[in-house]
């Protein structure tokens, strides 16, 4: 995948860091305690490698997480961090983003944390478009509680809590967040360092909530969950997208994406007129297109789209709030004793020194 220039300005309030930092500058003194082979290691390495590109100082980086394996992430980064409680990271991060425009606020979460117990906070952060970058590590299992199925587990998943197979239909994560009015949506695979780096870069440039789903293996409780898109034949399933490029995939681009009914479908490139191959447009305002793209991905992993699905401009909640505050301050009396005036109010009466009743 190629780097995408989304031509959006990064947060202007965040001061630039000096001197330039390296990946190792973002390693904390804590021993990393994920299981051997966990996809989180690869993500951590990619994020540490990417952070110097942001060009901001460590003290202006804030990582907020919830509960779960992925949520240990902040401990391993030398920045400010809060390992909070289950599902609530987007809410806590919203309070930070609203009051601290000088911080780059990141949320690290998982499929259980963000889509199950914290689903409400996720969708509301997205619709508000708060200045946050949300990294959702989706391993389709509950790891920290030792192996129950998650809201992204495929139907029929046999786990400790579903010995007969899970019977609930999973979320399509990207469809869900698009339905929640997300302005930036992307997906990457943990082991695809280049693709993940590109997506992070685009996410960091987005003003508003940038949502990134990172597909990731849990070698202990859901080993090989994404083997279909990692091993032999993966190129027949993975559909990388890049803004402005026709969507083709497979050996020598033998497959492509075309319009079909209300949505999109996969076709053979050789059987398709070039004009019918969909050219990816991440900037289109219509969420229907990105949604149709998201529907190409199924729980069975027949196809998985990666890259930036959607990146559109919409005023960020906290930016607008700050603008309201600034405007109100200008319109207000501006007097140093505005608070005293407020509490004094308009209807007062004064009582002189006591007199005998």
């Amino acid at each position: 995948m190629t780097t995408i220039d989304l031509n959006l300005t990064a947060a202007p309030e965040i001061p630039a860091g000096d001197p330039p930092l390296k990946a190792k500058d973002f390693a904390s003194d804590q021993e990393v305690r994920w299981c051997p082979g966990c996809g989180d290691y690869a993500i951590l390495a990619t994020v540490r490698g990417f952070l110097p590109e942001l060009g901001i100082a460590r003290q202006n980086l804030m990582f907020v997480s919830g509960i779960g394996c992925s949520s240990r992430f902040p401990y391993y980064l030398n920045a400010y961090g809060l390992h909070s409680i289950h599902g609530r990271a987007p809410a806590i991060a919203t309070g930070l983003a609203m009051t601290r425009p000088d911080l780059s606020v990141w949320v690290v979460t998982g499929d259980g944390d963000a889509l199950s117990i914290g689903g409400n906070h996720l969708i509301h952060a997205l619709r508000r478009n708060v200045n946050l970058t949300i990294l959702l590590f989706n391993n389709r299992i509950y790891g920290l509680t030792k192996g129950q199925y998650s809201p992204t587990s495929e139907v029929g998943k046999i786990t400790k809590s579903t010995p007969l197979g899970s019977i609930d239909h999973p979320f399509n994560t990207v469809s869900l967040v698009l339905g929640a009015e997300a302005t930036f949506v992307a997906r990457a695979l943990d082991s695809d360092r280049k693709g993940l780096g590109a997506v992070l870069r685009a996410a960091a440039q987005h003003r508003g909530t940038a949502f990134v789903e990172i597909l990731q293996d849990c070698p202990i409780f859901n080993d090989g969950s994404f083997d279909l898109i990692r091993k032999e034949g993966a190129e027949q399933r993975l559909i990388p997208i890049a803004h402005g490029a026709p969507i083709t995939f497979g050996d020598n681009g033998e497959n492509c994406v075309v319009r079909s009914g209300f949505g999109l479908a996969v076709a053979r490139t050789g059987d398709t007129p070039t004009a019918d191959i969909v050219v990816h447009d991440a900037y289109t305002d219509d969420p229907e297109y990105a949604f149709a793209l998201s529907r190409l991905s199924e729980q069975g992993l027949d196809h998985v789209v990666t890259g930036v699905f959607r990146a559109v401009d919409r005023p960020a909640y906290d930016d607008t709030g700050r603008a309201q505050l600034a405007a109100a301050r200008e319109c207000g009396s501006g007097a140093a004793d505005a608070v005293q005036e407020l509490i004094t109010g308009r209807e007062t009466w004064t009582i002189a020194e006591p007199r005998k009743l």
């Binding site: 804030m62 809060l82 309070g95 609203m98 505050l325 608070v339 004094t344 004064t350 006591p354």
Partner: protein
């Protein structure tokens, strides 16, 4: 009045009473007189220029009651403003249904507003109304039981139709059948008089009849000789965009005034002189507004931006409304998707170095528990306001109760101590909020502030403090360049941990909900460290510096102590005054700090042979006091969604002294059980 704050403007003390507008050219303002210089004496008639006698009163209790769409709260608020600017001491208590518009004319739809005005320092909105304004039969029926013999009823006869009477179960018109002979009844066709009066304004019949509450206000304003100018100004401002509606309301108000003046139906007006409160500049204020102001001022005292995260909930929403209007002074509010997000965002703001506040009521506090626990573990400042209402579950949303004390104390997993403070009256909410913020910032802890429905919507005069005379709050954030920073190395005196807010160069660190190693704050599962940290967190809360309780015992010889907390201050205080007037010696202690308790509390409790704790719950403070001090605190409990009346607590004092209180209290549980048994027997 409780807890007065230092008067701000000494140079203003020369003026006795506030601006008193008397445009002499207006004929209908005859009757307005300057406030009298002398008061006292129960009833004394004075000949007035208009030819109607004025009876002097020390105090009066008035209740406006009508359908929930009749505008009774607005009417009450306006009468309150008139009384306040006149200089009376006052206390108000609204009562309204949980339904926005219950079926018209029914008992559940009755909304009322009670005000006591007095020429002396009062503590409550009064036990029994001396005057009831009943806008319909439902309002009469719902309230007539509260009236003492001799009370005055002013009824809107236009609404006493056969149909409306039947709606509330009256078979005959009580205004005519002699059933109200214990009272002085004024039957006034307010609706039709209003419609007639507003005709020149050009409004339709619907808007016209809606102004009947202003007719009632005009009549009462005449009866109590209140300045009409301020109300007219208020109406013009309120309906500035609808001049014809403003005109209609003004006409209705004048019509009510003139009705009193000209019909001779009322033999006398009444005069309640200004009260001699401590010197100062006053305004009228409700509890929720005072909480909002306290939060704003606390932010200013600490030099921190204020952030309120809230989810709408009765009866706390007015705090959100109040602070949402304050963007011009930098207050940021966030209407969250739920109670959990509201407290989460507040904690995030605290983490970022703002004054993080969340406001809610009992059901919301239950949802916030886990996040408050995170604030306990991460030792971050957080102000949590619980405006208590009747519970459990949805309970009685618009009614008052004090049943969240134990939830505030213990409603979280693990050993999770927090500071708990409670305001005692509407105006006291201001000082309580500042005190709560001071504790939160000084000790890096969540502080729960327990207000309740009675305080939230009730109002009273407030001596406006001068902010520059209040003590500043130092949040003591760690500066850049701090050497050897450790997030959990404590201040040896307060045990508070150092706070380095994000953005502070060189102090980057991680905190979270997992147990912390003492000093470094790294994750630690070490057994001895966990015990140490639990004890340190507890010791920090136990060591919060709070002032000693003051004992109100003028005789210094009482053997009975009444101890309360929160909104029962008024009725307990008034009951004690009444008892003392009868020569009964009784002491009163009222707790601002519920966790930790004041250091002298154990000694104080030990001095009295009988200690009684009246509470609007099943005895939660009594549980805490008994457990902590091994003192035989007797609970006196009431769980009706209603504040105590001074009258009933005066009776409690007598029963405590004659030794029968314990049996009366313990019989309550037995009686409840018996009720269920009887019903079952009847069914069988």
């Amino acid at each position: 009045m409780p807890h007065r704050v230092k008067p701000p403007c000494a140079e203003q003390n020369t003026a006795v009473v506030a601006a008193f507008e008397t445009p002499a050219s207006v004929a209908w303002q005859r009757g307005i007189r300057s406030p009298p210089g002398v008061t006292a004496g129960a009833r004394k008639r004075v000949q007035m220029t208009s030819g109607v006698d004025a009876t002097k009163l020390e105090q009066v209790v008035i209740r406006f009651a009508g359908d929930s769409g009749d505008g009774m709260q607005l009417t009450g608020d306006r009468f309150t403003s008139e009384a306040a600017s006149f200089g009376n001491d006052l206390a108000t208590q609204p009562s309204y249904p949980a339904e926005i518009r219950a079926p018209q004319g029914t008992l559940p739809g009755v909304s009322s507003f009670q005000i006591q005005i007095a020429d002396y320092d009062i503590l409550t909105a009064g036990d029994h109304p001396d005057v009831l304004v009943a806008m319909n039969p439902a309002a009469l029926k719902a309230n007539v039981g509260d009236l003492p013999r001799g009370a005055t009823i002013i009824a809107n006869t236009d609404e006493f139709s056969t149909r409306n009477l039947a709606k509330v179960g009256y078979s005959a018109n009580p205004l005519e059948d002699g059933s109200l002979e214990d009272f002085t009844v004024h039957a006034v066709p307010m609706t039709s008089l209003t419609i007639g009066a507003v005709a020149p304004s050009g409004v339709g019949k619907k808007d016209g009849q809606r102004a009947k509450n202003m007719f009632a206000l005009g009549l009462l304003s005449w009866m109590y000789q209140r300045s009409p100018a301020a109300t007219e100004k208020f109406l013009r401002a309120k309906f500035a965009t609808k001049p014809e509606v403003a005109e209609a309301n003004t006409l209705a108000f004048k019509a009510g005034w003139n009705y009193g003046e000209t019909t001779e139906a009322f033999a006398s007006t009444f005069e309640v002189a200004p009260a001699q409160l401590p010197a100062g500049t006053y305004r009228q204020i409700t509890g929720n507004t005072a909480l909002g102001y306290g939060i704003v001022v606390a932010g200013q005292l600490a030099g921190l931006p204020v952030f309120l995260g809230a989810y709408p909930i009765t009866p706390a929403s007015d705090i959100l409304h109040e602070l949402s209007k304050r963007t011009n002074i930098g207050v940021r509010t966030f209407q969250a998707e739920d109670e959990i997000a509201a407290v989460g965002a507040a904690l995030g703001a605290s983490l970022g170095g703002a004054l993080g506040v969340t406001s809610t009521s009992g059901p919301g506090l239950a949802l916030k528990g886990e996040t408050i626990g995170l604030a306990v573990m991460t030792e971050l400042p957080l102000l949590v306001i619980d405006v208590q209402r009747g519970g459990p579950s949805t309970g009685l949303p618009t009614k008052t109760e004090q049943a969240d004390l134990l939830q505030a104390m213990f409603g979280r997993n693990g050993e999770s101590p927090v500071a708990v403070v409670a305001p005692r009256s509407p105006a006291d909410c201001f000082a309580a909020a500042i005190e709560a913020a001071r504790i939160a910032l000084t000790y890096r802890t969540p502080v729960l502030l327990l207000s309740d429905g009675a305080i939230a919507n009730g109002s009273e005069p407030w001596a406006i403090p001068s902010i520059d005379q209040l003590d500043p709050i130092d949040p003591r954030f760690e500066p850049e360049g701090t050497q050897g920073f450790q997030p959990y190395a404590r201040d040896p005196e307060t045990l508070a941990r150092p706070l380095a807010v994000p953005g502070t160069k060189g102090l980057e660190h991680r905190i979270g909900g997992l147990e912390k190693a003492d000093g470094t704050g790294d994750i630690s599962y070490e057994p001895a460290n966990h015990e140490l940290m639990v004890r340190l967190r507890q010791a920090k809360i136990n060591g919060i510096s709070v002032p000693d309780v003051e004992v109100d015992d003028p005789s210094d010889a009482a053997e009975l102590l009444i101890i309360g907390w929160g909104s029962s201050y008024g009725p307990i205080g008034e009951a004690c005054r009444r008892a003392r007037r009868r020569g009964v010696q009784v002491a009163h202690v009222h707790l601002r700090h519920l966790n930790p308790f004041p250091a002298n509390l154990g000694t104080v409790l030990g001095k009295y042979s009988t200690v009684v704790a009246p509470e609007m719950n099943t005895g939660q403070l009594a549980v805490l006091l008994r457990a902590r001090y091994l003192v035989n605190v007797q609970p006196w409990t009431k769980i009706q969604g209603l504040a105590f009346s001074a009258e009933e607590l005066a009776g409690v004092i007598d029963r405590a002294l004659d030794g029968s209180l314990g049996d009366l209290e313990s019989s309550k549980a037995g009686d409840a059980r018996a009720r269920a048994t009887y019903r079952r027997n009847e069914e069988l």
